[in-house]
């Protein structure tokens, strides 16, 4: 499962980082980095929660 980040929507509010610092980090330039290419299917529920928690709806999940 892949995490898609819409950079046009993301303003690096960082909610995702606080929920999963192992997958997301706001970098020194103030932009969000997705730190992993692929996430195990078993993590879907947790990722869906993070997607919903994004204040700018910048995250989505793909295969």
């Amino acid at each position: 499962m892949k995490i898609h980040l819409d950079r046009a929507k993301c303003t690096a509010l960082g909610v995702c980082e606080s929920m999963a610092p192992e997958w997301f980090e706001v970098n020194e330039d103030g932009d969000l980095d997705v730190l992993v290419d692929e996430v195990d299917e078993g993590q879907r529920e947790r990722l869906e929660e993070i997607v919903r928690a994004c204040p700018t709806a910048a995250l989505s999940l793909g295969d």
């Binding site: 509010l13 960082g14 909610v15 606080s18 610092p21 980090e25 020194e28 103030g30 919903r52 928690a53």
Partner: protein, 409 residues
């Protein structure tokens, strides 16, 4: 066949939407009814004071899952309907003459802007809804002079948006220090000074005693007797929980709907979420009512899950988070603003800084100005009940990381 399980949500904004979505995804497949006072499906409010005011073309900001809610066959959305009361014994919500029966009720009616106890001529606005934002924006097109009453976060964002559109902007604030309740006095003064750096006049200690103009506002009269000329006025002096419709209904109210740590109200089968809820946050061992996007979003689904799985209900433990964008600056805060903050990175008069808040040895809050990379690292520390010393160490690491990056550049 038994009657379907009725899951009713009063309030159709972020918390209400997320309560409804969680219920619709629940395996018990309850029948869901969402009742909203506005005519619109749930939309996103944070852009109303920023992007929406800055661009005439900006449409009503979408909220994830809102359109799907209306299309879902298990969901009935009743818009433009004001709830007028709850019969907690009979399990019924009243909308005037109409009654909606519930098995479980989630109240997410939000907050409503405080207003001044004064006669207000046309051209004096509050900002909470899409309709409010459109009304303000349409009058911003003419340019001229805006007076913002209240130097809180909404007022400051409106002021910054108006300035960006080329208006002359004055902010009048009754208190001597802005934002003191939100971030404390030291930090409030530091943030207030951002306005001056962008050519917006912030007048502190200035109460408003009246307005000039009859057909249209022409000025704001201050407590010292002076008048500030105005073509448009926005009042941003905070919000009150939307609970008056519950008066006398048997649900305990005290600056919001009083909830336990599970977001349960004092009435059986009734939960609350979002700006209207004052719940017992176990992480800080105190009741809190907060008007932030993140807590509204999370509480909506948390309340729904607790309501539908009472046997597996969990406490809602939360590190509050809010952000505010003024001019080209981002302010972010996590936790609770106890006591006097300590600067751990930068300085109060700099364009970027980090300050922490403590209770005893524990770090309980952090405020950053233009430190997007840092704030959530503090949120993680606060969630784990770490110490002030841990937070200072983090600040040193962050400063080092920035120095390394600067050296590489």
């Amino acid at each position: 066949m038994s009657a379907p399980f009725e899951f009713v949500v009063v309030g159709a904004s972020l918390a209400g939407l997320n309560a409804a979505r969680a219920a619709l995804q629940h395996p018990s497949a309850p029948r869901v009814t969402v009742i909203g006072a506005e005519e619109h499906l749930p939309y996103d409010r944070p852009p109303l004071s920023k992007a929406v005011l800055k661009s005439d073309e900006h449409e009503r900001p979408a909220l994830f899952g809102s359109a799907e809610l209306a299309e879902h066959e298990g969901c009935t959305v009743i818009l433009g309907a004001t709830a007028t009361g709850v019969d907690t014994a009979g399990h019924v919500v009243r909308l005037g003459e109409r009654e909606v029966r519930y098995d479980v009720l989630v109240i997410a009616t939000g907050a409503t802007p405080r207003t001044l106890p004064l006669e207000t001529p046309p051209g004096v606005h509050t900002l909470r809804t899409w309709d409010d934002a459109v009304a303000i924006r349409s009058q911003m097109r003419a340019g001229g002079r805006m007076v913002v009453i209240g130097a809180g976060f909404i007022g400051s964002e409106v002021a910054a948006s108006a300035k960006e559109r080329g208006m002359d902007v004055v902010i009048v604030e009754a208190l001597e220090v802005p934002l003191a309740r939100a971030v404390g006095e030291t930090a409030g003064a530091a943030l207030g000074s951002i306005h001056g750096r962008h050519g917006v006049d912030l007048r502190l200690g200035s109460g408003v005693i009246g307005f000039e103009g009859e057909d249209r506002v022409t000025g704001v009269t201050l407590s010292d007797g002076s008048t500030v000329p105005a073509d448009l006025v926005v009042v941003g002096i905070g919000a009150l929980p939307q609970t008056s419709w519950l008066d006398g209904g048997g649900i305990e109210i005290d600056n919001g709907i009083v909830c336990d740590s599970h977001l349960r109200t004092s009435a059986p089968d009734v939960f609350a979420a979002g700006d209207v809820a004052r719940w017992d946050n176990p992480l800080f061992a105190r009741h809190m009512r907060i008007e932030h996007w993140t807590s509204a979003q999370e509480q909506g689904s948390h309340a729904a899950q607790n309501a539908l799985d009472p046997g597996a209900a969990t406490a809602y433990s939360h590190v509050p988070y809010f952000w505010s964008d003024w001019y080209d600056s981002r302010i972010q805060f996590v936790g609770v603003p106890s006591g006097t903050p300590e600067i751990v990175d930068g300085s109060w008069d700099a364009e970027a800084f980090t300050a922490i808040y403590r209770e005893g040895d524990r770090v309980v809050g952090a405020l950053t100005l233009n430190r997007r990379a840092d704030i959530m690292k503090y949120r993680v520390l606060i969630a784990a009940s770490k110490t002030v010393e841990d937070a200072r160490a983090l600040a040193r690491d962050r400063a080092e990381a920035r120095a390394l990056k600067a050296a590489r550049a």
